[in-house]
Structure formats: C-alpha cells, structure tokens
Assembly symmetry: C2
Homo-oligomer: 119 residues x 2
DNA sequence: CTAGAACCTGACATTGACGTCAGAGGCAAG
DNA sequence: CTTGCCTCTGACGTCAATGTCAGGTTCTAG
C-alpha cells in the first residue's frame, strides 16, 4: 500500500510516517518513481511504534528496542533486551507517579465537593 | 525565605520559580531591593504545581484549577471545579493508555525471554 | 571594606515530534 | 489529455518548560 493508506489505517499523519523512516523505525520499498510502498505488516508496526511513543520512549530509544521485535533471537537482541527492561521500569515509575497525581486530584475534588455541598 | 532556598526545598530550579510567577502560579512579596520572598506554604504550593505538571497539565490549565486550591468556596471555583474533573478524567485515560503500553512491553519481554531461554 | 554568593531583568537557545508550505512530479478516471 | 488527488524532497515553524548567558545589583561573612 502507499503512504496515504498506511497513514489512515494506522491513524497517524503522512508526515509522521516519513519521520519514522528518517529515524530508522520504519522501512519502505520504493517504486521506480520513488514512491513508498508498504506491506500489510507495516500497519501493526506503526501502531506499535505509536504505543512506545505514548509510553514516553524517544525515537532513539525505540530504535534501540526494535531488534526485540524484528528478530528476538538471543545474539542480536542483547542490548535491546536490556534496554527494554530499563524502559519497562521507567514506565512503571512514571505510571506510579501519575497515580499519585490522580490521587492528589481526587483529594482536592473531594475537598471541594465538601465545600460545595454545604454552601 | 528567598528564591534559592525555596528552589532547593521544593526541588526545582530558580528559573522555574520565576517562570511559575510569570505564569501566575506563584506569588511573592518583594523586598525593598526587589528580591522575592516566600512564606513556608510556598514549598507545598510549588510541590503541588510540579505534581500537576507531571500529570500533563499545562501552565494555563493549572492556573484555571488553582482557585480550587486557594479558595474552595462554591462561587469562585465553579469553572475551576469543572476543569478539575475534566483533567482528572483525562489523566485517568492517559494512565490506562500507559498501562496498555506496559502490557505490550511485558508481552514482548516474555516473548524474548522465551527465545533467550531456548537458545 | 571587600570578596563571593545570591539575586535581578531580559533575552536568546534547546528539545522532539511533528505541522505546514513550496515547488515539482506521478497516477487513475473520464 | 487533463483534472484532481497523491506523493516526493527540503526546509522552516511550533510549542512549552526550562537552560543559559549577559550585565548589573544586593546581601553576607570575615
């Protein structure tokens, strides 16, 4: 499929796909005229990359982790595997921090509900 | 206390404190020579603001919510209260999304562990 | 009194994942 | 063949919280 269809199906902009390629996160075949063509699997790939971005990983970090996706055989993915564990831990910490923030908001909401009920 | 002490005690940079003031998130008394002075409560204030930043709220949004902190009486904090509920929901969605990302990472980790064990 | 922190304002720099625009070529349908 | 949509490269714009630097004032300890 061409870039427009991939963008739509994966729910990202065409600009983003070109950016992913520039960062080495996504490959494409080029037609004679230079247009990018992608296989079906590219959709899942892009969705997964988006998911990692959502988790706060940078392009560079995603690039480091991708060997675990593309070729999870022991030798090639050693550093990638370690990196993945690190990022998993970082994400876990981040989630815990957000939960604390949510709790703080809940406290404040309850406090305000109290005031609003009595007035 | 002066700005340096507040920065250290709240765990932020002096630059950030000046920025918060610029955004209306933090007030200060000025000495005759123009130096900022803060009461004890400023520490908690700054920590709380940091917490909201961590939750993904922008300066402008934090500003909108602060009436619920400063004066949780019904009349003044109406819009602020609504805004707080909205942000609470947004944060909750974000957390759920991050949990999905963590699950995806966990799956990938398990998959790779499998490969690494057999080889 | 003096050296060295700490503070002031103002302004430009940074970072990263994009948005957006320009100028040009490619492709399917009528 | 042409109209209109898709794609290409390249480059500059964005946003937000903060870093950083310059040039100058103020406070504090000795």
């Amino acid at each position: 499929m061409r870039i427009g269809e991939l963008a739509e199906r994966a729910g990202v902009s065409v600009r983003s796909l070109r950016y992913y390629e520039e960062q080495g996160l996504l490959q494409s075949e080029r037609s004679a005229s230079g247009q990018r063509h992608y296989p079906e699997e590219a959709v899942d790939r892009v969705v997964f990359v988006q998911r990692l971005y959502a988790g706060g990983l940078s392009s560079r970090t995603i690039l480091e982790v991708l060997p675990c996706v593309d070729n999870p055989s022991a030798d090639s993915a050693d550093a990638a595997f370690d990196r993945m564990l690190v990022e998993r831990a970082r994400l876990d910490d981040h989630i815990k921090d957000l939960l604390r923030t949510r709790d703080a908001l809940d406290e404040l909401i309850e406090l305000n509900r109290g005031f609003r009920a009595t007035v």
